[in-house]
């Protein structure tokens, strides 16, 4: 599982892979204070990522997937309250770290890629300066020239043509795809063990998405970094992920290997997501969208949050919230009737 890691040639890295997962989040809840009252964006989410693994977190807008990822590096705004039984990285509790220690983790062993490369780069700084910034921040003895050279090298690595020239250009002189490449360069600048990619292809043209995905795959293979891939695009999931965590209304509703999710989803929400996806291999007359809208998180439905939209919903779903239960090796589902989905694929 960690073949990629070996290629870095860092013996201590392979040694330090102990039994525990690289990242473990246990019982995470996130609340936001808003003008509409307290909104619970994430409830009791647990998830773990092993070294070198790509875990996709899938869900609609507002399902809490970004809030989950942001809470790892404590990057949520001040209005958020984060509670968790554990958020540990390489066995160390991230919540116990001081602000200074946490800054060493951010951009160091944990790199982050943002959704919109149009806004995630400072428009009045050259691209090179921003990539070099990621390097400089983690040098023990900041060396501007070395950081600049490294920025050129990183841009070349992520496929920016003519990097020695383009480091001196401003973001507005870069296309969307090129900017996202620069963002990826920043995320991998310090050979991270974990990359958190928040909808890395959502803001890009479809034609560019495939290129950026291929690059992410390459970067992941070369650095051996584990990746949390936040997306609502199941095509991206199929392309990259090893394992899938499906979120709905701030909770995990299903986890499974990527093959199992596509072959035999065990939660009606996952099934609905797949049915709303156009497919090349099956001839369907009409796509089957999930009816209704995601719930208002300031006032979520009682019982199972998905019941107002669920084809399987019965009385029990309205009153009793299904627990996330293990339904197989490495598989969980939070549906009272997951058995029924197993027999009727």
């Amino acid at each position: 599982m960690s073949a990629g890691r070996l290629s870095i040639g860092d013996p201590s890295a392979t040694e330090s892979v102990d039994k525990g997962p690289l990242l473990r989040i246990d019982g995470l809840s996130v609340e936001f204070r808003t003008s509409d009252g307290v909104v619970r964006a994430v409830t009791d989410v647990s998830l773990s990522v092993d070294a070198g693994e790509i875990v996709a977190v899938v869900g609609e807008s507002g399902s809490g997937k970004t809030a989950t990822a942001m809470s790892v590096l404590r990057l949520l705004p001040d209005t958020a309250t984060v509670e968790a039984d554990a958020i540990s990285f390489r066995g160390a509790d991230l919540r116990a770290l001081s602000a200074r220690e946490l800054r060493k983790i951010r951009g160091g062993p944990v790199g982050m890629i943002f959704q919109d490369p149009m806004t995630a780069l400072n428009p009045v700084m050259t691209v090179g300066a921003q990539v070099a910034e990621a390097v400089l921040l983690h040098q023990n003895r900041p060396d501007k020239r070395a950081a600049w050279d490294r920025a050129v090298e990183l841009l070349r690595l992520v496929g920016v043509p003519d990097p020695a020239q383009r480091v001196r250009q401003y973001p507005h002189e870069f296309s969307g795809g090129m900017r996202q490449r620069a963002m990826i360069a920043m995320a991998i600048a310090n050979n991270p063990d974990l990359i958190i990619a928040d909808e890395p292809t959502t803001a890009l043209d479809v034609t560019i998405q495939a290129q950026v995905l291929a690059l992410l795959k390459k970067a992941q293979a070369e650095t051996g970094a584990a990746t949390i891939l936040i997306t609502h695009d199941l095509g991206v999931v199929a392309e990259l992920a090893d394992r899938v965590v499906v979120m709905y209304a701030g909770r995990v509703v299903e986890t499974a290997g990527v093959g199992e999710i596509f072959a035999a989803p065990r939660h009606p929400y996952t099934k609905g997501l797949l049915a709303s996806l156009p497919r090349m291999d099956v001839d369907v007359d009409q796509l089957d969208p999930i009816p209704g809208n995601p719930p208002n998180m300031a006032d979520p439905p009682a019982g199972c949050a998905f019941h107002p939209r669920c084809p399987l919903a019965r009385d029990r779903c309205v009153t009793e919230r299904p627990a996330l239960v293990e339904i197989g090796p490495g598989r969980t589902s939070a549906c009272h009737f997951h058995d029924e989905l197993a027999v009727t694929p």
Binding site: G107, F114, T119, N122, P123, Q130, E133, Q165, Q169, Y170
Partner: protein
């Protein structure tokens, strides 16, 4: 790919310069200020007189070949005093504006970045400074500490930082919500780094405008204070204390060279600096028509 060479003309700074150059009054003003600064620096060779040399036999003579702008009541060369006074007036203007800008930028960005009670404290402090009539307070302070150039510079600077502080705080607050600041934090940037790399550079354009206007205000304030005898002390010359000589009606009527030249110097300098400020404001605002 190489056809797209790196164009230096595409940087925000060079675009601003282009917009500034299309502002005739501002360009003329820059030339004027440069001349004033050069004249102040080369005061000695230009005037050919010692500004403090008293020659009672030549008191209050009008402009002549030897004394181009005449002499004052103790026979000192007015042109020479005017040029040397330029050093002090410009120096006081720049120094007190610098104090105001540095203080304002630091306090403003800290308030914006940290928020909470720090923000409240800094902003209330700004309110306090802005609600005092600065001239009265400076007069009182000079009275207590004794008039000196240093006291005056510090006092003017202290009363001007809130303008700059509020602007920097505003810029910081809007930047704080930008995703590139979040992205920078996600790569490990701390508050100091954010201030240095992202916030202060972004605040620089509006701050440069405020700074210029602060210079103009400080020069005028220096002239006022020195005129009242609370600023630069004789025999050192400043434009303000040269005007002190013009307090009597007879001087105003019969010896206009004594007050015209320092008066014009203050007025033109303050005007020019204000024009530069206007030009800068348009230059750094990308929305302004070029």
């Amino acid at each position: 790919m190489t056809s797209r060479t790196v164009a230096a003309g595409r940087s925000p700074a060079s675009a601003a310069l282009r917009r500034f150059r299309s502002h005739p009054a501002a360009v003329v003003s820059v030339v004027f200020i440069v001349l004033v600064v050069l004249a102040a620096i080369f005061a000695r060779p230009l005037s050919g007189h010692d500004p403090n040399a008293i020659d009672l036999l030549q008191a209050r003579t009008g402009p002549s070949g030897d004394h181009l702008l005449g002499t004052d009541s103790t026979g000192r060369d007015v042109l020479s005093r005017l040029l040397f006074a330029g050093r002090i007036s410009l120096g006081v203007g720049l120094a007190s504006a610098a104090i105001a800008v540095v203080l304002g930028t630091l306090l403003g960005s800290v308030a914006g970045l940290l928020g909470g009670w720090v923000d409240g404290l800094v902003m209330r402090l700004a309110d306090v400074f802005m609600s005092f009539p600065s001239l009265v307070v400076i007069v009182v302070v000079s009275g207590i500490l004794g008039p000196s150039v240093l006291t005056m510079v510090i006092a003017i600077g202290l009363f001007q930082w809130p303008v700059c502080g509020r602007i920097v705080r505003g810029v910081t607050l809007s930047l704080r919500e930008q995703e590139f600041v979040l992205a920078s934090r996600a790569t490990g940037a701390g508050p100091l780094w954010l201030m240095r790399k992202h916030i202060i550079p972004a605040a620089l354009p509006p701050v440069s405008v405020v700074a210029t206007l602060a210079v103009a205000q400080a020069i005028a304030l220096e002239a006022t204070l020195s005129f009242l005898g609370l600023g630069v002390q004789p025999p050192a010359a400043s434009w303000g204390n040269m005007l002190t000589d013009a307090q009597s009606l007879t001087v105003i009527r019969s010896e206009p060279w004594l007050w015209l030249s320092p008066g014009i110097a203050v007025a033109l300098t303050v005007l020019a600096v204000n024009f530069i400020g206007d030009g800068l404001r348009d230059a750094v605002d990308p929305r302004s028509a070029s």
